[in-house]
């Protein structure tokens, strides 16, 4: 390796940087600069003097941490966070549980119709989140929904799916529907990467398929479970599309239902860019802390297992 490195020409030394130019420029313009700008805005505020009339009456001044203390004590933001956490506690376990279950079933022997069912379960991935929310939104509406039709015929009570507690289930269902297939494929792919010899020994020992699934398959796909869990949690924190799409259909989704919806409302509805920026920064920092903490924990565990 060393000798190749020495033989590298001038061109080969500069080439990687040249190849990275487009990505670097785009990163600077559309990632770094906006983040820096958001940080800058979050420490400023608009000061209104007098009646707020005239050209000099509205002035941007330094605000220090004021926007942050406001955001952290904002009850709307807190409630939005709690709502999203409650929603995440439903979505993540159900979605990943189903994804794992389907992946194991696909991987089992003598299963029929596997290509068809795999494709069908993966299909929602191709459907935009907004359209998915719109489709389910109609299925939740008593006037057009088949569920209500059936409940009506059976004479059963008809709950309002777009209000109160059921609203969480309604929203969770949309996310589970859209995300299960993708996660199933990720887990299934790593299941297929397990060499067949691994099972042979267990089979000779008389292990049942269930035992093989629980004792061998699940531990071996643990890394992809960690990965899917990680991405699902991040997606949950960033929830925006589904509640926004359901909003026209119900009054129980407020404009501040999720934290990101509140950021949007404050920035564009209220025109308060500074407090919106502070909230955005808080959400971003929370996401990053959570991600890094999680990745470190996952790494440590993997190392422990490798050491065993």
């Amino acid at each position: 390796m060393k000798s190749t490195a020495r033989r590298q020409s001038y061109g080969a030394k500069r080439a990687p940087y040249a190849f990275l130019i487009p990505a670097t420029i785009l990163f600077a313009l559309f990632f770094a600069l906006p983040i820096g700008y958001a940080l800058w805005l979050s420490f400023r505020k608009v000061k209104v003097s007098g009646l707020g009339l005239g050209s000099g009456a509205r002035k941007e001044v330094w605000a220090g941490l004021e926007n942050y203390t406001d955001a952290l004590t904002d009850s709307e933001l807190l409630h939005g966070t709690l709502r999203v956490l409650g929603y995440g506690c439903i979505v993540v376990p159900v979605m990943l549980g189903l994804a794992l279950l389907f992946a194991l079933m696909l991987d089992s022997e003598k299963v029929r119709l596997a290509p068809f069912t795999r494709l069908a379960i993966f299909l929602p991935y191709a459907i935009p989140g907004v359209v998915a929310a719109l489709l389910w939104g109609f299925l939740y509406l008593p006037d057009v929904s088949p569920f209500y039709f059936v409940l009506d015929r059976l004479g059963l009570p008809q709950p309002d799916l777009l209000d109160g507690g059921p609203l969480y289930l309604a929203l969770s269902n949309i996310a589970v529907w859209g995300g299960t297939g993708f996660n199933m494929i990720v887990i299934y792919t790593s299941l297929r990467a397990i060499p067949a010899e691994v099972y042979e020994a267990a089979k000779l020992d008389g292990a049942t398929p269930t035992q093989i699934a629980l004792r061998i398959k699940i531990p071996m796909v643990a890394p992809s479970l960690v990965l899917t869990f990680f991405f699902s949690v991040i997606a949950t924190l960033q929830m925006f599309n589904e509640p926004t799409t359901l909003k026209p259909l119900t009054n129980s989704v407020s404009t501040t239902w999720s934290p990101l919806m509140k950021v949007y409302r404050d920035a564009f509805g209220e025109g308060d860019l500074h407090s919106a920026a502070a909230q955005a920064v808080i959400i971003a920092v929370a996401t990053l802390l959570l991600s890094f903490g999680f990745l470190r924990a996952a790494n440590r565990r993997q190392k422990q297992e490798a050491a065993r």
Binding site: F19, A23, F27, I35, S108, P115, T245, T287, L288
Partner: protein
């Protein structure tokens, strides 16, 4: 495992071909629990799609009066209404989506290929640092980026333009990540070295030797980005106000917003949703045999 063939799963996936052939022929018995479980899952996933297909065939009156899963007679009328809605703005939305997703995914794939190749095959100062910084972009919530992106583009007088939706979506951290993994697996170091010995320039080595080897992975990156941009709602929602530049997701949303209180518009929204789902599902069915899904989970052997 034995009866399954995964379209698009190349031998890369690791299960050595041929191991299954040595087994005695399977008894024709169906594993009941797995099959039924999967069928239930498939029904759950197809239900809303089946519903929209049928609902799109119903006229406004049939939608509220006939059983949900009974096809109606109004499909042609619905499509006519949709065509007539604001002089066919619906089809402009479809065209816009195709433009954003097609061009955006193409540019994104190029940028990912450049970066992934550089990060995988060269050893240079700052390699891991650059990679990690790019990857951190995945973790940034889109709204956090989109709000300041909007404000900055507003200063450059670029909001409410095609560019404002196209440009921020070209760099995809996930695409760079996939391209790096794929380049590391598909482009052997000695092939690159051999090209250098022959006196080829770095650019020539990339375009003539490495890129052809990376094509299958790049198809995946393209498709992944295509779906991501086609499905994106938030960025155009923030950037655009002129509805002739809307992509289909945003167009349907505004249609729903207007239609929520006027059930007469429901059929329009439903037919619009049905037609919007069609191209993606069709694309999906065609490409899923080429789409190397293994790559999505990083299961390429390196």
């Amino acid at each position: 495992m034995s009866s399954l063939t995964v379209p698009g799963a190349e031998p890369l996936a690791g299960s050595t071909p041929g191991t299954d052939r040595g087994r005695p022929p399977l008894r024709r018995r169906i594993a009941l629990i797995p099959t039924v479980t999967l069928l239930l899952g498939a029904i759950y996933c197809l239900l809303p799609v089946a519903w929209v297909v049928i609902a799109a065939t119903k006229s406004g009156r049939e939608l509220f009066s006939t059983f949900t899963f009974l096809p109606g007679t109004g499909f042609a009328g619905n499509v006519r209404d949709l065509n007539a809605y604001r002089d066919g703005v619906y089809w402009e939305w479809m065209g816009n989506s195709a433009l954003y997703a097609g061009l955006g995914a193409l540019l994104s794939t190029c940028v990912s290929a450049f970066s992934g190749y550089a990060l995988a095959t060269y050893r240079f100062r700052g390699r891991e640092a650059i990679f990690n910084v790019l990857l951190a972009g995945v973790l940034m919530p889109p709204v956090i980026l989109a709000v300041p992106q909007y404000l900055l583009l507003a200063k450059a007088d670029l909001t409410d333009s095609y560019l404002s939706v196209l440009l921020p979506q070209i760099l995809s951290p996930y695409g760079v990540y996939l391209a790096r993994i794929y380049a590391a697996a598909a482009v052997p170091a000695d092939v690159v070295e051999a090209g250098r010995m022959d006196g080829a320039s770095e650019w020539r080595i990339f375009t003539r030797i490495a890129l052809p080897m990376m094509i299958p992975g790049m198809v995946t990156v393209f498709l992944f980005q295509f779906v991501a941009i086609w499905n994106n709602f938030l960025l155009p929602y923030i950037m655009l106000s002129d509805d002739e530049k809307f992509p289909i997701t945003l167009g349907l949303f505004t249609l729903l917003e207007q239609g929520a209180n006027t059930p007469a518009l429901y059929t329009l929204v439903i037919t619009g949703a049905f037609l919007a789902v069609l191209p993606l599902v069709a694309l999906f069915l065609v490409i899923q045999r080429f789409w190397s899904l293994d790559l999505l989970s990083g299961a390429v052997k390196s």
